[in-house]
C-alpha cells in the first residue's frame, strides 16, 4: 500500500503535534487497518531518522562551539613571555641567585672573604678581567594553532633565544625547550637558538646550568655553583 498525499499530510501533522482532536480520532481509527498501520509506522520511522540526523548536526555544532571555547581559554591562559622577565618559578630562582650573589658580595666587602681563602679553596680558578652575567632574552612567536586527531589544541611555538652578557633573567615560560644549534655571534658571544614545539604542556623550564663564571673576587672568578658550596661548607 502506498500513502496518499493526504495521509502524508496527516502523519506529518501528527508528528509535529498539530492535529486537531477530530483528526486524531480519525487517525487512531485508521491505524487499526493493518495495511495502513504498516506504511504509516514505516513513514514515522523514516521521520525518526531525520530527527537523528538533526540531532547529529546539533551535536557537531555544540562540539565545535565547545572546542572553540576551550581553545580560546587555553590560548588566554598561555601568555608567552617576550622578554622573559616574569616572576614565576624562574623569577624565584633569579631572586635566590641575586640574594646569594649579594650575600657573597657582602661577605667579600666586609672582609669575611678574602683572596687567600678563595685561592686556597679554588686552586683551579681562572683570572678574569671582566665578570659576565647572562641574560636570556627570548622572542616567542606563536606561529600556528592546529588540532590533533582527538580535537586537542596544539600550539606550535618557535623561539629564538640569544644569550647576552648581562644579568641572569630566567624566563617564566613553561615550555619544553630543545636546543637545536649553538652558533656564535660576531662578538663571539654564544647564541643558543631554541626551537620549541609545545603540545599543551605546563612544565617548568630549568634555567641552563651553563652560566659560566658569575662571581669575581680579587681577580678570581668562582663558578657560582662552587661559591654556593663554599658558603654551605
Amino acid at each position: 500500500m502506498e500513502l496518499k498525499e493526504e495521509d502524508i499530510d496527516i502523519l506529518d501533522r501528527y508528528y509535529r503535534n498539530e492535529l486537531t482532536e477530530k483528526e486524531r480520532v480519525i487517525l487512531q481509527s485508521r491505524m487499526k487497518e493493518k495495511d495502513f498501520a504498516d506504511v504509516a509506522i514505516s513513514y514515522l520511522k523514516t521521520i525518526e531518522i531525520v530527527k537523528e540526523l538533526g540531532r547529529n548536526e546539533l551535536r557537531s555544532i555544540l562540539t565545535s562551539v565547545k572546542n572553540e571555547i576551550e581553545s580560546a581559554k587555553e590560548f588566554e591562559e598561555y601568555k608567552p613571555s617576550k622578554t622573559g622577565n616574569g616572576f614565576g618559578t624562574g623569577g624565584i630562582i633569579s631572586a635566590i641567585i641575586i640574594v646569594i650573589i649579594a650575600f657573597v658580595a657582602w661577605m667579600f666587602f666586609s672582609g669575611k672573604l678574602n683572596s687567600e681563602k678563595i685561592q686556597n679553596s679554588f686552586p683551579d680558578s681562572e683570572l678574569v678581567d671582566t665578570v659576565y652575567h647572562y641574560k636570556v632574552q627570548r622572542d616567542t612567536i606563536v606561529s600556528n594553532k592546529t588540532r590533533s586527531e582527538k580535537g586537542d589544541t596544539i600550539i606550535h611555538i618557535h623561539s629564538d633565544t640569544v644569550f647576552v652578557r648581562e644579568q641572569i633573567m630566567p624566563s617564566k615560560s613553561k615550555r619544553d625547550l630543545i636546543i637545536s644549534s649553538k652558533p656564535r655571534s660576531e662578538n663571539n658571544d654564544t647564541k643558543v637558538r631554541n626551537h620549541s614545539d609545545t603540545v599543551s604542556v605546563r612544565e617548568l623550564i630549568v634555567p641552563s646550568r651553563n652560566m659560566g663564571a658569575l662571581f669575581k673576587a680579587n681577580g678570581k672568578a668562582i663558578p657560582i655553583r662552587d661559591s654556593i658550596n663554599y658558603f654551605i661548607k
Partner: protein, 147 residues
C-alpha cells in the same frame, strides 16, 4: 554541577561533557516542540534531566550501585530515544545536502513550508512540499536498503 554529578557517580569529565551536550539537545527539542514548561529553576531542571539520563546510562551499562545527589531535582518525563539501527553517516552522504537541509528544517526544527521556502530559496511552498516528498521517498528507500 553536572561534572560533580557524573564524577561522583562512576563517570569521567568527558562523560560529563557528553551528558551536558545531551541535556542541551533535550532542552532545545522541548523548546522547538513548545513542551518546555518550567515548574522549578532552570538549574534544577537541567540537573534533573542530567540525573535521569546518567542514571539510565549507568543502569543500561550495569554500573549502577547507588546514586549520590548533590542538588535538588524534580521528576522528569522519560524521553524515549530509539537508537538508530542504520548508519546515519552513510545516509547523510547519500541523501544530498539539499534534501538533508529541507528534511531537518521541516521535521527537526519544525519550520513551516513558507519559512523553508524563504530560507532555501524555493519558488513557493508547493515546490517545498513536492521536494520534501521526493526526499522522504529517497530516504525511506535508502533506509530499507541498508537494513
Amino acid at each position: 554541577m553536572i561534572r560533580n554529578l557524573v564524577e561522583k557517580n562512576s563517570g569521567t569529565a568527558d562523560d560529563a561533557s557528553d551528558l551536558f551536550q545531551e541535556v542541551l539537545i533535550i532542552i532545545y527539542e522541548k523548546v522547538l516542540d513548545n513542551r518546555l514548561q518550567l515548574t522549578c529553576s532552570l538549574k534544577t531542571y537541567i540537573y534533573s534531566i542530567a540525573r535521569n539520563k546518567w542514571l539510565n546510562k549507568l543502569k543500561a551499562q550495569k554500573r549502577y550501585t547507588s546514586f549520590n545527589n548533590f542538588e535538588s531535582f524534580i521528576s522528569i518525563e522519560e524521553e524515549t530515544e530509539s537508537a538508530p539501527t542504520i548508519n546515519l553517516d552513510n545516509l547523510l552522504n547519500e541523501i544530498g545536502e539539499a534534501c538533508r537541509k529541507l528534511l531537518i528544517l521541516f521535521y527537526y526544527k519544525k519550520r513551516s513550508m513558507q519559512e523553508i521556502c524563504k530560507e532555501l530559496n524555493y519558488s513557493n511552498a508547493d515546490s517545498v512540499k513536492n521536494q520534501k516528498y521526493k526526499c522522504m521517498q529517497r530516504l525511506k528507500k535508502m533506509a530499507d536498503n541498508s537494513k
